[in-house]
Each structure stands twice: as C-alpha cells, then as structure tokens.
Subunit: 357 residues, 4 copies
C-alpha cells in the first residue's frame, strides 16, 4: 500500500529512520546482469549524510548488505534484497517531539491516518527512506548502462541562483563540487548561499534537472502510463518535491504551436527533431532525443528556530529547533532523482520487450 | 499495459478516435451508490467538441451508453462499462497523414513502438480517449459528493493572461463563460486571445488550476503513492500536459523554511494550518486543508499552417494544415482535469478504509 | 476488484446475464498479431447455448463485435474491446426469484456482500460471463499458435463414466460428438447418461482434462506465480469448478518418490523426461513436456424440481424448477477451460521475455 | 515477478536456501494490530526442520528478526519486514549437484529459464522459502483472530492411510503428535508408515486438509478472484503440491444436483445451509459455513537412492542420494497451509471493506 514501485522492474521498500534497518527488494531484474556491489555503495555514498559542510552533520555509514538474488557476481532473476542498518539513531533527540506536530512535516497526517505514530525522526516519512531507492536505482543504472542509456542529474537552482541550460554545460563535471552543479561559478554562488542560510538557522528551496541520454525510440506506454507521467510520479514521490515539468514545461504555456512544434528531419538516415520542446517524449513515448525535466524542492521543514505549533491534543506548544539537518536538500537529492529516473526507464525498457510480436 | 488507472477504484479504457467506439470499465465502485446517468452525460457535454466558437467545430454527440454494473439506479459493486460510439469520424480527412509524421504528435513514436499505426486522427493517442476518463470521473465525483468532497478546476492562464489566485475568486462562476475562467474580466481577455490565435491559424498554451475541498485528513499513502504523486501522474497522463505543481510548487524554490512552513493552530477544536504552502498535503497525505495544483498545457500541435516533416521512409514532406482542431486545449480540458482528480481522490478514499484496524 | 486476469496479457470483463451486454477488454496483446475475427466467433459458437440436445435450449447468437485495438486485420498493441449483446433475456423468467435464494447459487452471498442484487439470471454471477473469457481466449490462442503452442481440452468424465488417459486418444476427434469426448464409445455413454439425467429433471457433475502441447522450457514464475498455481486459479475461477490437479495430482499421494520421480534422459540432443508425473511443470516452470490437468465440475445447481429454501427475510419458500438450463455443464465448458488455459500460457509466454538480460 | 502475493494485505518474499538470509515484507497490514512477536516464532518453530524423527535432521533455528513496521508492540500501517538468517547451510553438500539436474526438482527449468542457477540446495526453488510465508502468515492469523476467524490444518492422508472427516474429529488435538493428525490412532499408523519409508531410503506423498471457521458472509470477489480460486492458487504455490479441491471437490463429479444442492434454512434467525457440499463458498463468496479444502502433496523428490539423470551438457550421470531430507513433507507443511490460507482470508477481509458504500 504505497511502498512498491514499478511494473516489471519492481521495488518494495521498508523501514523507519529509527528502527533497526531500512531496505528494499528488487523484483524483476533480469538474470545475467553483472552486479558490481561497490557501485551500489558508491551511489549510497553520494546520498549519505555528513558528506560535506552544506549537508546535515549526522553520520550514517549506510552500508548496503545484499541478502539474495545475486550469485557469482550476476543477478539470478530472483528478488534482490538489500538491507541498510540504521546506526546513528539518537532516538532521544526526538523525545521532545513525541506529542508535538512539527510544521510542514508528516507528523499530524500520519497520526490521523494510522492512529499510531513512530515519532522518532519521522519514522517512515523520514527522507532516510530514500536510501533504499538509491540502492535499487544503482541496480537499475547497471541495467541501463548495458543498453547505452545514461541517467544524470544536477542542481540547477538554489533560491534565486540558476545554472545555465543543461545542453550548454558539461554534465560530467557535476561531482566536482559539493553542491553538484556542473557550472563551477554557479556552484560557488550556490554553496555560499546555502552556507549563509545555514548560519541564519534557516533552510532554502532548490531545483534539480534530470537528463536521460541514449534512450531508444519506443519507451513509455499509451494513455495513463506515459513515460513522463511515470517520471512525474517518481519525482513527486521524493520527499520535499513540489513540482515537475519536462521539455518546455510551464514555459510552454507562453508559446504558440508554430513555435513549439518540433519539426522532424532526416539526419543521415536517422529521424530526429530540429528542436526538442517535447523533451524527448511524444504521446508519452520516447522519440530518441534527450529526455530532460525539472524537479522543484521546497525548503527543508526542519529549521533551527523556535516555531509555534500544537500537540496531539491540539494545545499550543513551542517547538525548539534542534538536531542535525540539511539547510538545503538538493545536493544530496541528486542521486535520488537519478535513482528514481533510472527505475522508471529500466521498467519501461523491460515493458517495451512485449510491445510487438 | 498503460490503459488502466487506480488501485481499488480502478478504470480500464479502450478505443481509437476513428474506430467504432471508445469506452471504459470502472471496477471497484462500491455497491449502493446512486448513479444519475444524466450527470455522466452533463460532464461529457462539458468536454464535447463543437461547444463554442473557441473550440474545434467537429461534432460528436458523445452519448454514453451504460452496459453493466447498475441496477435500479444504483451501482451493484460489479464493473460499470460505458461505451461512447464514434460518429463524425471523417477518416478521409486523415488520408494525407497515412505516411507522414505530424510534428509533436505521437505518430512517429507509435509507429516505431508498435510497427503498425492507426493513422486516422491519431488512433489511440488522440485526445478523444479522454472522453472515457470524463465518463468514469463522473462516477467518481458522485462517490465523492456522498462524502462532501468537491473537485473543481478552471482555466488559470492562457498565454500571458493570468487569473487571480484561486481563493480570491468564486469558483462557482467557472461555467459562466466559454473559456471556463471564474474571473469574468480575465475570461474576456482569454477568449479574445484564443480567437486571435485561431484567426492566425495558430494555437497557444495554457494552464488549469484544480482545487479539491472537503477532503478528510488521511488520504494518500506513504512513500511512492503519495497523494500529490498520484495527482501528478494523473494530470501528466492527460494529452498535451507538460508540467504539474501543487501548493507552493515551483515558487517554493525561492522561499526559506521560516517563510514556507505552515504553522499549526487550534481553530475551535480543529487542527488547521495558518498558511497553506503545503497545498493540503503533508508527507503525501491530506491534512484537511484545500488541495490545489496547477497543470501546464502546451499549445495544440495541429496548426492550420504548412509544416515541414518527414514520412515513414524518412523523406521530407510538407504537411498542409487542415481539419477541425482546438486553437487552445484548456477550455475543454477543465472537465478532464476534474475527472482525473476525482478518480485519484476516490481511489484514496477507498484505500483509506484499510489503514486502521 | 475481481474482474481482471493476467499480468502482461491482461483481460478485464464486465456484464450481467440480463443487462444490455457483456464484454471484455484485452490489454497487453502485442502489436502485429493477425486477428481472424471469424475464429473468435467460432470459439464463441462452441460455448453458445442451444448447440445440441444435451445443453440448455436457451438461444443466444453470442455475436462478438470488436470495438478497438485492431487495424487492417492486425492487433495494434492497444486495448482490444469485444462486446457481446444480450438478446434472449426473458427477465420475467426470473421474477419469481426476486426475493428467493436459490440453493447452491450465489444469490445469498451477493445479496449479503453488496446489499443489492441483480436477481435476473444470476446477474454477474451467471455463467454467461464466461463468454467474455472465450472471446479473449481466442485472441490468446492466436498468439500461442504463432509460437507452436496448442491448447486442447475434452470431457474426461461424466458421473461414473470415464474416458481413457489423454495420451491414448486422438484429441483431434474431440469435436466429433456433442459431449466433446475424443473417445467415441465413451462419448456415446456420456451422452446417454446426460440425456437420462435431463429426463429425470436433474443434473450431474463431470470432469474436463486440459492438455497443452508445444510449450517451451521456462514458462512460469517462481514462488507464488508458479505455472500450475495460475492454471489452478484460472480453472477454479470458472463457474461450478470444485477441484484442480495437474500431473500425478491427487494420485501422487499414493506414490513413493522412487516411483514418482521423472528421470531425465538425453533424447537425440534434447533433454526430456522418461515419465511425466510432473505434468510438464517442475518448480512451477514448464519443462517442455506435455502439460496436463484435470478440472472437476459439480452438478449444475439449477434443477427442474421443487426445492425448499428461504427468501431474503429468512422465510421458508418453495422454489419451482423452471427455465432452460444445462443438465451437465462440461460439454459447453470445454472451450472455457481452453480459453482460460490459453490466457494463462499467453501471459507467461510474454512474461518469459523479461527473464534474462 | 512471482514473489508477491495478495492485493491489499500483500507480501513480498526473497531469499535463497544458501544465501545469507530469507525474508518477507508485509505491506498493507492495518495500523493498530497487537503483534506478539513470540507468536511469529512459535509458528516458525512448527515448520522448522529437525523437530522430530520423521522430518529432516537438518538444524535451522529459523529466528525471525523484525526490521520495521512495529512500534510499541503494534503495527504502524507501514511495511513489516522480517528477516530469517540462514545458518546450517553446508553448501558443500551440494557441490556434486553443480552440474547435474536432480529428477523432479526445478534445477533444469531454472537453468533454462534464467541461464544461471544457484545450485546450492535448490536456491530460490527450495522449500526453505516457505519459512517467509509462515512468518507473514502469523501476522495474518493475528489479524484474523481479532475478527473471530480461525484457520486450522492437519494431515489427512499419508500414502493409503486416511483420517476421518474433519467434522468428526477434535482439531485442537492436531499438535498432540508429530505427524499432525488429530486422530491419534490414524496418526500412529501414519508415523509408522513414514518411518518405514525413511528406512527404505524413499519418500511418500500425503494430503493436508484445511478448515476455516468463523468467516463472515461476503469474503471473496466475483469472477476471477473467487475465494476458492485464490485459496487454490495459494495452496498450489506451495512446493510439492499437485492438487486442490474444496467442498465436495472431485467427489462432486459423481453427484446429482438434487443430492449436491445445499438447502437454505433459517436457524434461529440466521440463514444457514443444511448440508455443506459448497465448502462454505457460493459463487466465489463465503456464506458463513465452514470453509474446508484438501491439498495433495507429491512424494519428496530427494530420495536416498542412486538416480539416473543428465548434467547441464545433457550427459548421463548417476546422482547419489545424500543429504538430510524429509521422507514425507506433510507434517511440516501443516503450518505452511495454514499460513497461506490465513494470507488469503486476511486479504479478502480487507478487500470486503470496500464492497459497499
């Protein structure tokens, strides 16, 4: 009921931020895929807390243990279970929250929905859950690499500071700075802004752009399971995401059809489009051009300031800002966006095997 | 494979624009719901082509026939099948398209994905398919009305012309003009713009805002099936949609946590939030406040102008602009947005029945 | 909620026995399959009431109309909708049943489950619903024929009269008599027995054996979706079925492992088994040998005799035996068993395309 | 792809017999259920190897560790993950099997399906996988107990030795002997037979009968997801099962409708049936009477005798019988049958919450 994703390449996640462990089962990974376990760890390390001065200083090793589905370094076609133990839990950090509803967190809605709530660190609603997605996404990426498909994301905006268009930058440089923006000058500004926000004991919103290159023509299903509809759902399911657009996106509102249409041309025997307002997807199905999309993140709800709220009996209480949290979520969310995109594309890649006789 | 939507309240659609009929099966509607068949027709009439001077002049009666699932005016708990026959098909209007790929349509991607293509009017990729969604959405709306939940949508932008914020207008006035914007002055400007674009033989993009009022606390599921993630998928699955945002949306990028957080207050014994940047959803679960969201639509791809493209052998061809098409999709898309929102909320309403012991 | 079957090759059925129509959507049929519409009709004719003296004398043309998914004689990869109008409904035949619960029918359970009941001819619980399965199964059979897989069924028992083992008969002779048993001497006895039972205004149980030949090695999924588990579910979902067994079945209880094990042998370079107690399935996955299984049907519940029962207020009533019904269900159930088997195998055939890299 | 079961109360299992661990995620358990962890362990102990002289002497503690979904002794509505570490693996016991296909095991079919095979103890196809089902089934049983529903199973046949009818015995006495047959005299004969078979280095088949008492009217869904169809699938998915029947089962073939019909009677204001050939299910929906069914198990394929077979290159090899295996599977399969039945009923119990307005 909400913890599964995908149709053929399908994942099931579990775990609370302060329980013994979180994890994921990947069901539907084809047999015979070479699984480099160190690659899974590398991806987790990109998401790990405490990796730089602009992220939370909480320490979690986030060590992935594979329990099944791999034999002699290859996937066997059976479910791949990965468990990540919780370590630096400090549950007592949360004892003051036992009865208070943190503003713009899921405390109140979980309490009402379930009548019971694991208040320690948000429980299931904690962004810690996304580590399981990153582990599963690493397997999806390995599958996509075999087909020549590359999924990349980067920070394209923090507050008012924006990066240039994706196709004017060298995306290979994304990991060269701690904010994960491939344009180094913009990155420096973003880092300075986040650092200032942190000193102000506040948080700030941001945007991540995702790009998928090398997709064959034909991924995506008609009507409800359009490629961009699934991408949108996948992105919107990530904690703190408030919006999704692909191709021309909200900018397309302002355009005329005569400007927006992507003319087909024959480029050395290959059918291409002159422009790419479509964002690589037409009628919900990939056309072989770059798929690109933007994901909007709100400012992190946990701030280091006193906030007025109510407790579970509706009484007003003042919540002190404490703990170890990210001043801006986007640098650590880059691998999460990539993971979710990879899961979507991998699923459609397998689904496309049954389109034709 | 793509033509089903929902988990418990679940629909399956079928049909091509120029086949004998389109239709839908609604499975999972609880027994005992009063079904007013004329209401289904009224909703279809709101989407019907030819309803005003700013929509396509194609004529389709879009008459819904119910084949099952209703007895003595009530749902029986078994699948409700609704068929809408295709009438004004004029397949010959499309004979010039048999081999050409229309720019920014799904012709090329369908041809590659399936190796076979029903070229008449876009076949399955035609927006005609959305009539089935509206019929199903009408049943969902009847279910929601029983629980005091109202789903409303309106045109909030056409080109550069924007309506005021949703909570400053009387949404009951949406149907008082042909563009479906509740602010009459803005509506007049929008209509004038669309009319001009039509005379220019061009098309233009727009935006629809959806609002859901009266939702109980607790709708939506954790992790992947967050309420806004499903809403986003549902909206992005509508033809011509390029973006989705809810609550603060892309605007949240610019805000600080201290500005964006929605403080809880006790309002006469009821827990409410002071502001509503969250858009009525926290941690993917409704908190009882208004749910509101924006949906971006690109300009319609079919324009009344010559366009350069290629045929299915990659040869350049000039496509003449002809036929009967909408200069702007948003006026007729309002009932579609409402239908998809109603389907999402109805499904979560039923899913929420199993959250607790 | 119950009216869908399959994972990739997936069907959704609808319709009550005395509503306007019944039908089915087939979603997930690969594009490019040649669809011979007359074949669908031929299969429906095998199930049709009134086809011989030992079946119900009710008349239904059961004419299939295809509404979508086929273009130029080929599947397009989009949903195939098939509708069969109800004709000879005689709803008044059922007015005496409006408040009475027929013994061993679904009247009471539907009334309790849904709080509302379409009493005319059993409504959704009527075996008329299986016509939709046969139509869908015909498409599945066409898909299997392309891969050299043949699905056949026949009547193997009526009351005490049993046919010889499947591999000692020529199954091609199944349609040569009205009871559908390939052994003509046994068939004659079965027909005589059913005829006698009919004269006695009673009904009798029977058994159908299904055989699938030409299956490649590798169909079926581990753990829950084992090939025989899905076959079993498919068969048990047919009206009046009380049991399912495959391979050695219940007879395997009596055997020792040393007798029951199917030794592997190399037969001209192909791995085969010497015996086939496994029924062509090992660990839930096909091994290339014949798949064979038995399906037990109870005697039809509607008998031409007075029966004591209660009405919906719990008051005792006597139910008069009237109407037009089958004295034995198995002759007409042969195409239904074949259809369900074909749907299962077709689905696994497509699922097997994603097992390996 | 095969490792998930259920619609609302849904489980996902993972793990190979000789990997680090096996386990299960239970998604969809309502919040607020009291979870007695020792009960889960008690159920696992009933399935554990090495529990008596007539089972395998392999030792596994089968200790369940709960990783998520439970807080303060109650379910929280989020996924419950349970892991059982593998201990006594002795992978070297299987080195002689690396290239040989064991008769009537899944070695050959897995190798062909996936192109890669974890040969140690059958890998994913090992019956060890059923421990995960038992753990999940324990949670389902706790949910059912809250609603007054009891699921019980017992050994009803071993070889030719049969127990009396279920409603003539005291099922509470099932656990009083090591073969799990409530009739002590029959049990003694069964134990003697299994012991003899073990001395003969052979194995033997058997039957388990399941009984569900206290089910409300209305569980089960029409058409494909009939209660007995899901029960059948659930049972057939258990290793070594060859057949399933409920109510009159295969015996119903021999009966007339006038004998088989279950007359309704008013028993002190409650609608009951005089007889129960229907096995508590009519039209796929429970009618409140006892649900009872039989499950046929083949003799275990691993025997302590030399067997002729082929290796993965098709060359003949002789397989020595060694290792530690069950001479008859049914005593240890009793809790597995109960677990699967509980999972089916729990799922339908939750599904029935959305049948009516």
């Amino acid at each position: 009921m909400g913890s599964s994703y995908g149709t053929i390449f399908r994942i099931h996640t579990f775990g609370e931020s302060h329980g013994p462990a979180i994890g994921v089962i990947i069901d539907g990974c084809p047999a015979g895929l070479n699984i480099d376990e160190s690659y899974i760890q590398k991806e987790l390390d990109r998401r790990r807390p405490g990796q730089s001065k602009i992220t939370t200083q909480r320490k979690e090793a986030d060590q992935a243990r594979i329990l099944s589905g791999i034999f002699d370094g290859k996937s066997t076609g059976t479910p791949i279970a990965i468990v990540i133990d919780n370590e630096d839990q400090r549950s007592k950090d949360y004892s003051h929250l036992e009865n208070a509803f943190r503003p713009s967190h899921a405390d109140y809605t979980y309490a009402e929905k379930y009548g019971i709530r694991d208040h320690r660190g948000g429980g299931r609603s904690s962004a810690r859950e996304t580590a399981a997605r990153v582990a599963a996404g690493a397997i999806a990426k390995l599958l996509l690499q075999q087909s020549g498909i590359r999924v990349q994301a980067y920070v394209s905006q923090v507050g008012e500071i924006k990066a240039p268009a994706y196709n004017t930058m060298d995306l290979a440089k994304t990991e060269e700075n701690i904010v994960r923006c491939p344009d180094q000058a913009t990155a420096a500004q973003m880092i300075a802004l986040i650092d200032q926000v942190r000193l102000d004991r506040d948080t700030i919103g941001g945007m991540i752009t995702g790009v998928v290159k090398g997709t064959p023509v034909g991924l995506g299903e008609p009507v409800f399971d359009k490629l961009h509809a699934e991408l949108g759902k996948a992105m919107l399911s990530i904690n703190a995401v408030k919006g999704f657009e692909y191709g021309s996106g909200f900018g397309g509102i302002h355009l005329k059809g005569s400007q927006h249409n992507d003319a087909y041309v024959n480029e050395g025997g290959k059918i291409r489009t002159k422009t790419n307002y479509s964002g690589g997807i037409q009628g919900g199905i990939s056309n072989g051009e770059d798929i690109y999309f933007n994901v909007a993140f709100k400012p992190v709800a946990t701030i280091m300031q006193d906030q007025e709220t109510v407790d579970n009996e509706g009484q007003p209480v003042t919540l002190a800002g404490k703990g170890r949290h990210d001043p801006c979520v986007v640098p650590r969310a880059v691998p999460i966006v990539e993971a979710m995109a990879a899961l979507v594309i991998a699923d459609f890649l397998l689904r496309s095997r049954v389109s034709k006789i």
